[in-house]
Symmetry: C2
């Protein structure tokens, strides 16, 4: 477990790739992750985990099957377990994620977007 | 569980009192809380829960027994379970907390600063 403070801007400066969440903190069986997103992800759901998306910089749309959630800086949304969602970023967005360590980024789908190995930065 | 997005600034505008965390989200047995802090709290520890402090506005000092952690906006620190800590804010600071639902604000201490009832906003 990290025993140092974490500066979000400094951590975001350490990577460029999209859709590759980085672990920056761990607590109570949960990870704090940072990710840069751009473009459209894939529809998926997490059967057993709720997932928090908080926008640090930019704008993020989270499409649900029945509505869209539009997030600006300083806003977050918790996708409840079992709810299909599709993150979309027209321009690059910086997000902080809070979710159980067990979460797979593509949820119930396993495909070329799946990240098996999580980097810690 | 909230199924709406949460805007931190809007939520912070809804209360003024210090050292009274408000629940703004719940996921995986954890709460997301917002608090306004000013002055010095009390030394305490959480025996079974790690606690994340993220500064949204202002500055926060978290004194540990062996060192001080100074947090600016956009920085967070995770106080590991069992570690004594003392939050101090010379000026009002706005913080976001992530911690298990079981956390009592004063940890192992029960005193006049203890908040038994958590408001949801």
């Amino acid at each position: 477990m990290s025993v140092n403070k974490v500066d979000l801007k400094e951590k975001f400066s350490l990577f460029k790739e999209h859709w590759q969440p980085k672990v920056v903190g761990e607590l109570n069986g949960q990870y704090v992750k940072l990710a840069k997103l751009k473009g459209e992800f894939v529809w998926h759901q997490h059967d057993n985990e709720d997932e928090l998306f908080m926008v640090i910089k930019g704008k993020l749309k989270i499409k649900l099957r029945d509505r869209d959630i539009d997030l600006d800086e300083g806003q977050f949304f918790i996708v409840p377990r079992g709810v299909e969602h599709l993150p979309i970023a027209d321009e690059e967005v910086h997000v902080m994620l809070f979710e159980p360590k067990s979460v797979l980024n593509t949820g119930d789908k396993k495909n070329e977007r799946t990240v098996d190995h999580l980097d810690r930065i």
